[in-house]
């Protein structure tokens, strides 16, 4: 419950407390360094390895296909 409350509070604060950024002011946000997944192959491999060695998976989108590794 505490975690859920903290997450909900954080979401509200971050979503409400934003300055308006015009399209022409978004140059830094569009840099490759700022992407959620800068390297797709690296991200795919790392998420598969972690999922095969831990009891948790997912969180970055819909679940993909399975493998015999877990």
């Amino acid at each position: 419950m505490t975690v859920k409350t903290a997450v909900a509070g954080l979401v509200l604060v971050l979503l409400c407390g934003c300055e308006t950024v015009q399209p022409w002011e978004r140059g830094l946000l569009a840099k490759k360094d700022m992407q959620w997944t800068p390297n797709i192959m690296d991200a795919r491999l790392r998420s598969q390895i972690y999922a095969s060695k831990e009891a948790s998976s997912g969180g970055a989108g819909a679940a993909g296909g399975g493998c015999g590794c877990n």
């Binding site: 491999l45 948790s56 997912g58």
Partner: protein, 389 residues
Amino acid sequence: MATNKNDRNPALMALTSSALLLPAYQGAQADAPPEFAEAGMQYSKYKEDDITAKKAFGFTDSTRQRFDIDVAQFHLLAPVLDDWSVAVDVAWEDMSGASPWFVGESASGDPKVIMSGASIEDNRTEVSVTTRYYFDRGNSGLSLTYSDEDDYESKAAAFDGAFNSADGMTTYSGAISYSDDHIDPTQGAVPTNTTSASKDIYSAWAGVTRIVSKRAIVRFGLSYTYRDGFLTDPYKFRDSRPNERKEWVASGGYRRYFEEQNSALHVDYRYFNDDWDVQSHTLDVAWVWDYSPAVTYTPFIRYYTQHEAEFFNNLAQQDQRYFSDDYRLSAFGAFSYGLRASRKIQNWEVSVDAERYRTDESWGVFSGEESPGLVDFWRYGIGLNYIFK
């Protein structure tokens, strides 16, 4: 404000698109197709540390060596017509090594692992194709994935979409997926829990991305996954798991650019919970540093901790309905850290990376029995990318 697709300014699109959309599926990052096609390949080596005599019975050279995997990956992303893109991802894996078969009790009372004996050999090939349609305020993608290995086959499909608010400050995303998996355990190395079984995986995800400032962006996501079918590990001697698993994930991400340092801070958090009583926290932090226009260094650190599954015991309780001594269901904490370095040379980019992953029961925030099967590993990789421009 709606815009005519034919009037799109490529430079403006580059500025406004890629940072706005939350990838509903890895690879979706823009409301315009990529300007240029790109292709990449990567070779990685994954090597688990040998298990020590203190933690294993029947200690020999052939049984102390845990998994060693070679991985080759290929990625292609290309614009098609005016509003479409196609991505193809292929991965080949070649693995060998021994894995924990079951846990027994030593004369001193300590739990010790009995390894699978003869080295297990396997190969896996995965092919994934994603088509994506881009419209003025978002995109939508369909992905098909096929994975085949000696004893396992998986066929999966995913559909996702992302939609920008009118001011472009917020992006709403969603995705659904289905996977049809089948296992025919390889016979001979160890007795197996089944000779043939299947499972289905259904998943749904929703997320929102928000621009916080000229230098920062955040995202939040919620997902639910339902697994139905044979979820027991067929190669574990003492393993019997429920035929259903319901998983929930809440996640958050933050990116902030620091102009003076030419660097971007990446922070990602995930909370996981399921009806097997597994809970986990995952925190990923990376610092993407543009040392020069051509050279980038990315040190990263990851912390993971999980609560044990309700039916986990080092000495599996076989009188219970469900039981398992699989170290992956035990309580533990894990730290991993690494470095990625890349250099651009005209249209080429060469990258190398290394990661060390270590586990210990005492590093976790949840208490539980320490499994002797916990694994540490190294991962190394080298990659090459080319942009067709």
